[in-house]
């Protein structure tokens, strides 16, 4: 078996045996779906507020869930780096690419599984609240969120490589807060407008949410889906290259 897959398998097993990963990566997004649906049910229809409607909510919560995948990536990498385990592996024929890909692959797989569970729950909720949520849209969204999953995993890899076990989660919490707020997950940034919208547009998070929501609605227009998806894809590519370079540089420094 390829060394990357051997390492990826080890990372998946390690994560699957950590109860926190179930709480943060799966239970928490589901709880948010349920709570926000209840909130949505309490909002008078005449207000015209649709941000917590299940089609919008599902896209937002999936991106919110990915921020926790970032946190877990950072935790896994920083934990490995804090002990002697990685040092031992540095003395084996493993290359830096085996490590970075071995971290990224399982996290992206986990993000996809997370989105599957979130969308299944969202679909069940849509039946309960009698909203027409397209299964085709949910399947399309599962594919559309892969670039953002890579992007958040890359951020986690960068933080986990650069910072220790104590600092990395704290910094990830900042990104989680920024991502959920400036990603327009919990409010409608487009109708808010002003400086806030300009700030949101300068960061990649809003495009992640936008592309996911557009895919769920099967709206693949240039403005709604293609441009946001391309921005996320570009950001994910750049951040992945940076993450790989940072890990390689750190590994070289550790071996100097």
């Amino acid at each position: 078996m390829n060394r990357t897959l051997v390492f990826a398998k080890r990372n998946i097993i390690e994560m699957s045996r950590d109860m926190l990963s179930y709480i943060f990566c799966i239970a928490f997004p589901i709880v948010m779906l349920l709570i926000m649906t209840l909130v949505n049910e309490s909002i008078p229809a005449e207000s015209g507020m649709t941000i917590f409607r299940i089609d919008n909510l599902a896209g937002g919560v999936v991106i919110f869930g990915q921020t926790f995948v970032m946190l877990f990536t950072a935790l896994s990498v920083s934990k490995d780096r804090s002990g002697s385990f990685l040092i031992r592996l540095f003395a084996t024929p493993m290359k830096s690419g085996n490590f970075t890909n071995g971290y990224i692959l399982p996290m992206v797989a986990i993000a996809v599984v997370q989105s599957l569970i979130t969308f299944v729950v969202a679909f069940i909720i849509s039946l309960v609240v009698s909203y027409d949520l397209s299964p085709a849209g949910l399947i399309a969204a599962m594919i559309a969120i892969i670039p953002s999953a890579i992007m958040f995993t890359a951020i986690g890899l960068i933080f986990g490589t650069l910072f220790n076990q104590n600092a990395a989660p704290g910094l990830c919490s900042i990104i989680i807060s920024l991502g959920s707020f400036l990603g327009a997950i919990w409010f409608d940034a487009e109708s808010t407008g002003g400086v806030l919208l300009k700030i949101c547009r300068c960061l990649p998070f809003i495009y992640c949410t936008k592309a996911a929501r557009a895919a769920i609605s099967l709206d693949f227009s240039m403005d709604a889906f293609v441009i946001p998806e391309l921005i996320v894809l570009g950001t994910a590519t750049i951040l992945t290259v940076i993450a790989i370079a940072v890990f390689r540089t750190r590994m070289k420094a550790d071996l100097s």
């Binding site: 078996m1 390829n2 060394r3 051997v6 390492f7 398998k9 080890r10 097993i13 390690e14 045996r17 950590d18 002990g83 002697s84 385990f85 040092i87 031992r88 592996l89 540095f90 003395a91 084996t92 024929p93 493993m94 550790d254 071996l255 100097s256």
Partner: protein, 246 residues
Amino acid sequence: MNAIITEGLTKRYKDKTAVDSLNLSIDEGELFALLGVNGAGKTTTIRMLTCLSTPSAGHAKVFGHDVMAEPDEVKRLVGISTQDTAVAENLTVYENLKFMAGVYMSEEKGKEAEKSISDRIENIIKMFNLDEVRNKKAKTLSGGWKRKLSIAMALIGEPKILFLDEPTLGLDVLARRELWKIIEDLKSKVTIILTTHYMEEAEALADRIAVMISGKIVEIGTMDELEERTGKKGLEEVFVEIAGRN
């Protein structure tokens, strides 16, 4: 055949020289102990010989392969058990061994390879008496079991040289004696480089002993030779005498 040869091997960190012009020759099949107090340069020497640290000057060859020019070849020949028990905490003993076997045997494919990996793991489990803990997660093991697992993981790739960096550090006397027995059993099968600051450990296990002080090897030889040169009996007395001179 020489397992290791170093010529003027040096490691400098800014204003500190951790290893100073090390000239060393270790034969294949030998159990060689590097003895010294904390900070003597033992671990740094091991790090350079396992490609975990780049020498500042000099050369080192492992079975003829230069550690700087041919790190991939060197890494295939060595196994290391570090001072801290470097195991994957949430994996079971068996999974840790399988993981390391996968890292070393990734080129081998097919059912034969799977059987070969499986046989190798079973042999190691038998050799280290790990059967009773094979399905236990590493994080639930005691220090002694973890250390045994760590050494077992270093051996799973069937290295020609095994580096044991303070293998019994922090272990109780029973666990230490059990590890000594395992190391003694390994003596004929693999070249072993052992670092320790436990005198009795080096005395009990090593074919030759090198005493390192401030990054330099100040004495090297068999136990008898060291006793003869210093006029002292027992390694502790020998070491005190050598340290006093330097």
